[in-house]
């Protein structure tokens, strides 16, 4: 009866995935994932290589057909409304695919034609984008002559040429030096501040922590956990991590005190909300080689889940 509520175009969801699946013969690259991306947020997909992040992106971009489940972008089915959806997307894939036959400016101009943007309007948008991404000086340079960081920035600029309603960024800073990464992060943040909806994949946890409003951690095609970065840290790790040397004496001491710990390589980690008490208890009662206490990060959450997986 009340069709306005049922109509997803009117709700705030940009992407709705339910039981989404991608099978290659027997291999399930994406194995029944469900998530919901809301308007105006930065939504991250974290996971190791081969976790199914890029495959998920490709299904959202309507270039790789799903084999099961439901996937709607802007309230439209990705199988039946490819053209309409793609018109509203800005995509920066993992691998740079700038057109090497053209200059920086021409890349943007040729790309704008694919979206039927009138030439004069395109010129204005391109000037703005070159300025925003600090590429104005390189406008007439061929792609092969610009640096890796500039190529990445140009990829982002190109993704924005059609003023998309959703930005899809697959590993936006892969292979870049720290300065170039920070510049890209700044740009992504200001795109978010302008109200863009962004989905991004990454296997850099600091990147996800900085940029994402919400994220999922994927492994073997499944979503392990979903939430806001700080909430995930608090829920699964606690506020702090105390690290000590991994030796039998420390372990025995911790077991005596009935404390939960995780072994990560040559270290023992104790997840806690109360680092002072634990640190002093350990210092007093155990013989420690070294001990450090630090804030918990998303990396700890990730390793907790990834580590569990490995033990299975």
């Amino acid at each position: 009866m009340n069709s306005a509520i049922a109509n997803p175009r009117i709700t705030n969801s940009i992407i709705v995935a339910e039981g989404l699946e991608k099978r290659f013969d027997e291999f399930r690259a994406v194995d029944g994932v469900s998530f919901n991306v809301r308007k105006g947020e930065v939504f991250g997909f974290l996971g190791q290589n081969g976790a199914g992040k890029t495959t998920t992106m490709k299904m959202i971009q309507c270039v790789s057909p799903r084999t099961g489940g439901r996937l709607e972008v802007f309230g439209m089915d990705v199988d039946t409304h490819q053209q309409e959806i793609k018109k509203l997307l800005g995509v920066a894939p993992q691998e740079n695919n700038l057109d090497p036959d053209f200059t920086v400016y021409e890349n943007l101009m040729v790309y704008s034609r694919y979206f039927d943007i009138p030439r004069d309007e395109a010129k204005e948008i391109i000037e703005e984008l070159l300025d925003f991404f600090q590429l104005s000086e390189k406008r007439d340079t061929l792609i092969e002559k610009i640096s890796g960081g500039m190529k990445r920035r140009l990829m982002l600029a190109r993704a924005l040429v059609n003023k998309p309603g959703l930005l899809v960024l697959d590993e936006p800073t892969i292979g870049l030096d720290p300065q170039a990464r920070h510049l890209i992060w700044d740009k992504i943040k200001s795109m978010r501040d302008k109200g863009n909806t962004i989905i991004l994949t990454t296997h850099y946890l600091d990147e996800a922590e900085r940029l994402c409003d919400r994220l999922v951690i994927m492994d073997h095609g499944k979503i392990l956990v979903e939430g806001k970065p700080d909430e995930l840290v608090r829920e699964y790790v606690g506020t702090n991590v105390v690290e000590a040397e991994n030796n039998p004496e420390v372990k025995a001491c911790l077991q005596r005190k009935d404390m939960k710990y995780e072994v990560v390589g040559d270290r023992i980690q104790i997840h806690t909300n109360n680092p002072h008490d634990i640190t002093s208890a350990l210092l007093e009662e155990c013989h420690l080689g070294f001990i450090t206490a630090r804030s918990a990060t998303l990396e700890d959450v990730f390793l907790k889940f990834a580590g569990r997986k490995l033990r299975e």
Partner: protein, 265 residues
């Protein structure tokens, strides 16, 4: 089985956007147009001097036609074949595999069907451009009859579609760029020599003639081009034309479906 064969001949959905891919390739072409115009200018000169005026001095003439006049239309037909075939094999393969140009384009409202169609239209356009230049050069030597020869220009686009589609089929099934050598040496080179190009088909055994007419596309292109440049139209041209149109349509649809199979995973 029947269903799987039909799936290779699914009619693609296309829109005006195919011309955007064509436009992109045209822009790249125009950036280096001076270099691009050299081959179609030089090629007929070299062949005409070496074969037409060199070797040709020992040949009295074929069916009452001087040897340079006999091979001039064949040179045009060969150029039609080479321009679009190589554009849609090596050229398209580089754009598809090395430059990831197709990946970039299909992230926009264009579909893969439209990208491939744009590539094929561009391949045919290369044939048309090269043919036009060659016609001028060859006309300069007075080897063609201008009354009908201008019709070779639209023909070059049509036949260009045929060879572009053939090339695209090979591009779709080539595991790597080196394997493109097989169609070049096993298909293009024999056609170059045996399609009534440098000697008339009629001196071949009847079975070889039928084979050439049935399976070698260049035979039909040479046949029409020669009829036009010599201003001696015949009913056989209709057969040639029908063959070219049907083969173009079938192979065009096939190439798109093969490409979809390769690129959509």
């Amino acid at each position: 089985m029947a269903i799987s064969i039909i799936s290779y001949f699914k009619i693609p959905k296309l829109s005006y956007r195919v011309w955007k891919v064509w436009h992109r390739n045209m822009d790249v072409f125009m950036k280096t147009f001076k270099v691009n115009f050299i081959p179609p200018f030089l090629e007929p000169l070299l062949y005409l001097f070496a074969l037409g005026f060199g070797l040709g001095t020992y040949i009295e003439g074929i069916e009452g036609i001087s040897y340079p006049r006999f091979i001039a239309p064949a040179l045009i037909a060969i150029s039609i074949m080479n321009s679009s075939f190589f554009e849609c094999t090596y050229g398209s393969y580089v754009r598809m595999y090395y430059q990831k140009t197709f990946d970039g384009i299909i992230a926009t409202p264009l579909s893969i069907e439209e990208v491939i169609t744009g590539e094929i239209l561009w391949g045919a356009t290369r044939s048309l451009i090269n043919t036009t230049i060659m016609l001028v050069v060859i006309a300069f030597f007075g080897l063609i009859d201008l009354r009908y020869s201008l019709l070779v220009i639209p023909l070059s686009f049509l036949a260009g579609l045929l060879f572009a589609s053939i090339g695209m089929c090979f591009t779709a099934i080539s595991p790597n760029i080196n394997s493109m050598n097989y169609p070049t040496f096993l298909f293009i080179t024999p056609m170059f020599l045996l399609s009534g190009t440098f000697f008339p088909l009629s001196i071949l055994p009847a079975s070889a003639q039928y084979f050439a007419i049935a399976f070698l596309p260049l035979t039909h292109v040479v046949s029409i081009t020669r009829a036009l440049t010599l201003a001696s139209p015949s009913w056989f041209m209709i057969l040639n034309l029908v063959w070219i149109i049907i083969a173009s349509l079938v192979l065009f649809v096939l190439s798109i479906n093969l490409m979809k199979r390769r690129l959509i995973v």
